[in-house]
Symmetry: C2
Subunit: 113 residues, 2 copies
DNA sequence: TACTTGCGCAAGTAAATGCTTGCATTTATA
DNA sequence: TATAAATGCAAGCATTTACTTGCGCAAGTA
């Protein structure tokens, strides 16, 4: 279970990206997060642990709740790595723009799941 | 379940990131790439196939050689996703700047972004 | 033609991943 | 105090991943 546990690995999973997306907007406790997915609470709990392990989220104990909030500093590592190769796609700004517009629509449309 | 084979997954593996880095500088054939790693040619071949599958590299047959060149357009997807959360780390610009400066020195002056 | 080089395909393996169910523990509430 | 809620921990399981070795074939070269 040790294995690689870096930021690249962490964001490779779509569920974890969805979790990040969720708590980046607003902190939630574990159950609230799990309620938005089809898998069990335990599965989500594991994802949260992985995200916490590499510093992408912060978990605070509040009474019986464990509130998760985004601490996405580590993403800068990804950002920098990707930006090295920006020249490879920057002449395709049109496509990129479409992608951004889609993303925005998606995020305005539905918040959960 | 079909294996997930998206860009996030592709760059999650450090060997694949190293391959990208290698051929982004200059195209190489499969054996030349494999020569730079401790694993077998077959293992590298698989990585190359994965990278090609999600469009990160382009493989051209040239005689008996298969030349791999970087086509990193797909990285824009990562870039856009990460940039949504830029606010989470931008107050740590000092560290980031150091990192970028190092990177730029390493790559000897050509700026991206 | 005979040999070498480049490389894919296939089968096998060990480990990691993602998920489940079951149970224990702590904290809030009726 | 009894019960419900929030959550972790652990064992088990099916898939996927990252490798390996072995083999064959096409394209160059002696």
């Amino acid at each position: 279970m040790k294995a690689r546990r870096d930021v690249y690995q962490a964001i490779a999973d779509p569920t974890r990206r969805a979790i990040i997306n969720m708590i980046a907007a607003q902190p939630h406790n574990v159950n609230a997060i799990a309620a938005n997915f089809d898998v069990t609470r335990q599965a989500i709990s594991l994802h949260i642990q992985i995200l916490a392990d590499c510093g992408l989220i912060n978990v605070k104990q509040q009474g019986r709740d464990r509130v998760c909030e985004a601490r996405l500093d580590q993403l800068s590592e990804i950002s920098v790595w990707v930006d090295q190769y920006r020249q490879h796609w920057e002449n395709k700004l049109d496509n990129l723009e479409k992608y951004v517009v889609n993303l925005k629509n998606e995020r305005n449309g539905k918040q959960s799941k």
